[in-house]
């Protein structure tokens, strides 16, 4: 990888890469200083590995160092073990050329070497490496430039320090959201986000590890492999995240095609690590952009911000070099991802608060059933009449009333109760209504099994019963019948509530009445969308069916 020197100073000249090479058939003049004649240099060299050869190039220094300034030679991304000769003087050593197979691995690929002051004056200088490439004979290239020596040492450290602050942010985000995920394992998007942050943290770490750990050229490929795998997984996770947030048609097929294409890019020119990473990042960008564009079209919340983030990312890529664009670009994308998470978190919080409010409302609704004036005052008026006219019956009436209040009190705080309890509530209501309306109400039930779990939100059948009593007339024999049928399978629970009576007003729909709203809200509270409720007139009276998916 090239080291991008943003602050490259004008007076330093960089030449090279196309260098001249020479086999060890030259005359030596001691260990420290030697000169080369101009014969037998070639532009290309075939190496089998292990042999010592020379690489030569000329470097022009356009301005001499000022007082107390030292120049340094920077060799980056340069393979091999070598000794460095500057104008014939040995100025540095990187490993032991020619002894790589026998000695331990020493030397680094990125390093700066001090140039003696008397050799760094303005003018043309000669750089010669005595070099061996036992582990990678094909990498004969050489990247060299001259700059202020202090600058060459400091700059990579400063850059690395800043990038590590950046990486620390991603590590924190990764951990925070991972713990968040552990708290609620159903939130896959949070896990994906956390993983992306962690991979990105790893990517930065692997990229800049070379600043403080010497990487021998034989291990270079390991680092590059890790980097390209990290990029590969990021390129999978980021669009996956966006597709979960902004869904689009044929998602699975498109995601699989995308993954296939990414794998193709990953292996196509695998050894050209930088190009591979860049191409994968580019593919990821285009795919994410398409998803965000579709999201904006579909008016998904946050899609526009993500689109904007991707455009900023493209802009950064346009004005900067590879590394910067990769990291800054990823950074912006991750911010976009974070923004969606915060929107979703807000939505969830509001939905939760709303559900709490709704539950409280439903509880109040349930309590109101027994104290709303129409029920209570009519009951009390009837009760007074019974007490005045037939005190013994009046006592039974009071007992029936007590029974209904008792059951209501028991179920008041529940969101689901056994059907047997609901039947108890209905029966006590019927007893009260018998006294009030003087109609012979008959209750029947079928399929109730105490041994299996048959649940229902409180006062749902009770509400249907109230509706029936209000909207149906008794038969000519002054009778009205009700029948509750419970039908239980492994996956569903069905309740059919039948009323046998004459309907008062066929046209009048009760579907939007407060009673039905209560039933629907209660079912939603406990079962989300996994229920159906139908209500229709029949020849015999009225039929309500509630089906719950368990």
């Amino acid at each position: 990888m090239k080291f991008n020197n943003l602050y490259r100073v004008a007076f330093i000249l960089i030449v090279l890469v196309s260098t001249s090479c020479h086999h060890k058939s030259l005359s030596w003049k001691g260990e420290i200083v030697y000169s080369l004649n101009n014969q037998n240099w070639e532009n290309k060299i075939d190496l089998k590995g292990g042999e010592v050869f020379f690489t030569k190039t000329e470097i022009e220094i356009v301005q001499s160092p000022v007082e107390f300034q030292t120049f340094g030679l920077n060799l980056s991304n340069t393979f091999g073990e070598f000794e460095i000769f500057w104008d014939g003087v040995l100025i540095g050593k990187n490993g032991n050329p020619g002894k790589e197979s026998k000695s331990t691995l020493t030397g680094a690929m990125w390093r700066a070497y001090k140039i003696p002051n008397h050799l760094s004056q303005k003018g043309t200088h000669q750089l010669v490496l005595k070099r061996s490439l036992f582990h990678a004979p094909e990498y004969t290239g050489l990247n060299a430039f001259v700059s202020d020596y202090d600058y060459l040492l400091e700059h990579p450290l400063i850059y690395t320090a800043f990038m590590h602050i950046f990486a620390g942010g991603f590590l924190l985000a990764a951990l925070y959201f991972f713990f968040h995920y552990l708290g609620n394992k159903s939130e896959k998007t949070i896990l994906i986000f956390s993983s992306s942050c962690f991979l990105f943290f790893g990517l930065i770490l692997m990229e800049f590890i070379r600043t403080y750990i010497s990487i021998h050229y034989s291990q270079h490929a390991i680092r590059m492999e890790i980097i390209s795998y990290l990029t590969f997984f990021i390129a999978i996770l980021v669009p996956l995240y966006f597709s979960l947030q902004f869904s689009f048609p044929k998602q699975k097929v498109i995601l699989m095609l995308y993954t296939g294409f990414l794998i193709y890019i990953f292996y196509r020119n695998h050894q050209r690590y930088d190009d591979t990473s860049y191409n994968m990042a580019l593919t990821m960008w285009f795919f994410s952009f398409a998803i965000a564009l579709h999201g904006v079209y579909k008016k998904y919340k946050g899609a526009f911000i993500v689109l904007l983030a991707l455009l900023i990312c493209a802009f950064i890529n346009n004005i900067s070099y590879f590394d910067t664009s990769l990291f800054a670009g990823f950074g912006v994308i991750v911010l976009g991802m974070l923004y969606i998470l915060s929107i979703k978190a807000k939505e969830q919080r509001l939905a939760y608060e709303n559900s709490l409010l709704q539950s409280t409302r439903l509880r109040t609704e349930l309590l109101k059933k027994s104290i709303q004036p129409h029920f209570l005052m009519n009951t009390l008026t009837s009760l007074i009449d019974w007490v005045e006219e037939a005190p013994d019956k009046g006592v039974l009436f009071i007992e029936a009333l007590a029974a209904e209040f008792d059951v209501l009190n028991q179920v008041e705080n529940e969101t689901l109760i056994p059907i047997s309890q609901e039947i108890k509530l209905c029966k006590s209501h019927i007893s009260i209504m018998k006294f009030r309306k003087e109609v012979d109400y008959i209750w029947e039930d079928e399929g109730i099994n105490e041994n299996i779990k048959q649940l229902i939100p409180p006062a749902v059948i009770h509400t249907l019963l109230e509706n029936s009593i209000t909207h149906c007339l008794p038969s000519d024999e002054n009778k009205m019948g009700f029948k509750l049928i419970a039908f239980t399978t492994t996956n569903t629970q069905e309740y059919t509530f039948l009323t046998f009576g004459k309907i008062r007003n066929q046209q009048k729909s009760t579907a939007d009445g407060t009673g039905f709203k209560y039933i629907k809200a209660r079912l939603t509270e406990s079962y989300g969308e996994d229920w159906t409720f139908t209500s229709e007139a029949t020849n015999e009276g009225w039929k309500n069916t509630i089906t719950i998916q368990k």
């Binding site: 004036p373 129409h374 209570l376 005052m377 009519n378 009390l380 008026t381 009837s382 009760l383 007074i384 009449d385 019974w386 006294f435 009030r436 309306k437 003087e438 109609v439 509706n467 209000t470 909207h471 008062r504 007003n505 009048k508 009760t510 009445g513």
Partner: protein
């Protein structure tokens, strides 16, 4: 007396019926009890009535639609309802009384007494006079009323815009319902006191009022003193 009870609670209907019978005794000609608004409206159309006892909340239906219908009738309406908060609104439409549930004998007899003794309701809540017109019931805001003239069993309502409406209720019944701003100045006239410009004294102890719009209405010999007191105190 011909009385109709509209109440869907059988036990309560029976109770009202019993108490009504006990109160009116042999003055009661006929008492009928129905359980739904539809039946009630049908009965009102086909029968001559003196009093309707109405529950406002019947079988989940809102009784206010019926209330307009009954308020425009020749008979008085007494509401018997569990929803006390609807009382004010009921009075706006011109009901004689609102008996909240649960009620006892004393309370319902208090309401019946208003009919027998022709007591004024003494409420300032009446807002509208419901009059039958082609195409339904029309609500006349009493602020737009100048005076009301008795015309046999009917009344004529004279409005500030010069128009005239017919009401089925007698002048007696309306004078019971109307607020104190209306004064009976003659056996055939109810006048809104704010509309009176001056009292004209004619020869032979004959009196009359001139309204702001220039109309002159007679003052009954027995009513003069009361009117003078109302106007000048």
């Amino acid at each position: 007396m011909n009385i109709l009870i509209i109440e869907d609670e059988i036990r309560i209907a029976k109770r009202v019926e019993r108490m009504t019978k006990e109160f009116f005794l042999n003055t009661l000609k006929k008492i009928t009890s129905v359980q739904s608004l539809a039946e009630g409206l049908e009965f009102i159309k086909t029968n001559s009535l003196d009093l309707v006892l109405l529950d406002l909340n019947l079988n989940g239906e809102n009784g206010f639609d019926v209330l307009q219908e009954t308020a425009s009738g020749a008979f008085h309406t007494i509401i018997i309802s569990a929803n006390k908060h609807e009382a004010l609104k009921a009075f706006e439409f011109g009901v004689l009384d609102f008996v909240p549930k649960p009620f006892n004998k004393e309370r319902i007899e208090l309401a019946f007494n208003r009919i027998v003794k022709k007591e004024e309701v003494g409420t300032e809540n009446l807002q509208f006079l419901a009059v039958k017109k082609r195409g339904g019931i029309h609500l006349v805001n009493i602020e737009h009323v100048n005076y009301i003239k008795g015309a046999g069993v009917y009344t004529e309502i004279f409005l500030t815009n010069g128009e005239k409406e017919l009401h089925d209720k007698s002048l007696e019944k309306l004078s019971q319902l109307l607020p104190k701003s209306f004064e009976r100045i003659h056996k055939s006239y109810l006048v809104k006191t704010t509309q009176i410009k001056e009292i004209i004294v004619k020869t032979g102890s004959q009196y009359a009022v001139e309204l702001h719009n220039g109309e002159i209405l007679p003052i009954g010999r027995t009513k003069y003193k009361a009117l003078k007191e109302t106007l000048f105190n």
